[in-house]
């Protein structure tokens, strides 16, 4: 009975549970990627390096830079939409700074 249950259900239960788990994980990974610009900046630095080493030419650089800039903007938009802090744009000295005076 025990063995039969395993034989009948394990091959099904296993993968299904697995898929559900990995979907959850994928979604989390996707959300993290949406709001994290560090990987894009890392890629930008690597791209810069390739140009400096002469591995790619200016045209190739420009083409790939445009893709990365688009991704940076998307990250910024997601962060704004989710109410998270974003870099860039006009700033001013924070008001708390005045309290020191």
């Amino acid at each position: 009975m025990g063995l039969l249950t395993k034989l009948l259900f394990f091959p099904i239960a296993g993968p299904v549970a697995g898929i559900r788990w990995s979907l959850g994980k994928v979604q989390r990974v996707v959300e993290e990627e949406l709001v994290d610009d560090a990987p894009v900046k890392q890629e930008l630095m690597e791209l810069q390096m390739l140009l400096e080493l002469g591995d790619i030419d200016d045209a190739e650089y420009a083409r790939r830079e445009a893709v990365l800039m688009q991704r940076l903007r998307e990250v910024r938009e997601w962060r704004e939409r989710l109410g998270m802090a974003t870099a860039g744009g006009p700033v001013r000295v924070a008001r708390e700074a005045d309290d020191d005076e």
Binding site: Q48, E65, P90
Partner: protein
Amino acid sequence: MSEPHIVRTDTPQFPQPALDGKYVYCIIRLDKSRDFGRVGIGGGQRVYTVHYRDLAAIVSDTPLVIYDPTREHVLAHEFVNETVMREFTVIPMSFGTVFRSEDDVTELLRSTYQAFSDVLDKMQDKIEFGLKVLWEREKVIANLERENDEIRRLKDEISRNTASSTYFARMQLGRLVESALEGVQSRYVADIHEALKPVAVASRSNKVIGDRMILNAAFLVERTQERAFDDKVKDVSRRYEELLTFKYTGPWPPYNFVNIKLKLEKAN
């Protein structure tokens, strides 16, 4: 209160967007106004000074935009800092820092006056150099195979034997090469640091970029030691000519050695 209109660099520009904002490049010590010419970000804006007591912010007019870190923009930012650096000790601002008005820039200088002054004193006549070192992994491995007896022995064994008996030998060889590579890398890095230490005030190691890089460092150097530092870099790169590629850049403003946490908030 009217909402400021934020124009993004990625949207088609309206004809002549208002240049109300101030893009800030760096902070220097200077008590009279100065014009650095039309070299600013966003198409050759005039670069000039905004003052508070004996401090000056180097700025140019800008629409209230978010600047994407494109090569063009970053080079414009760098070019201004390089120009100013020729004559002054600078505290560089991060790329893309935009204030809404001259008053906001003055407020930055006023509220951070002490920290800026202290750092300017510390950085007086010091400049930064960047050194990235990449290796030719294949050549380093070939070198290892010549010099390391154990690696050579294993390689010979593998090339003599038939496939069946070489699986573990191959695995062992792979592991041996990996650990030898790690050893070689840290020896190279230590050696380079050792060579440059006497002519630098300080150094900082940053994360390596890509898989060929073994060192990504910044060095703080006295202006008077610039030549000496130069010579040392050339010396050490000659020593490793065959195996390593040296990417040597500068002089830069001391980006890696100034750490002032500005209390800034979004001005929306």
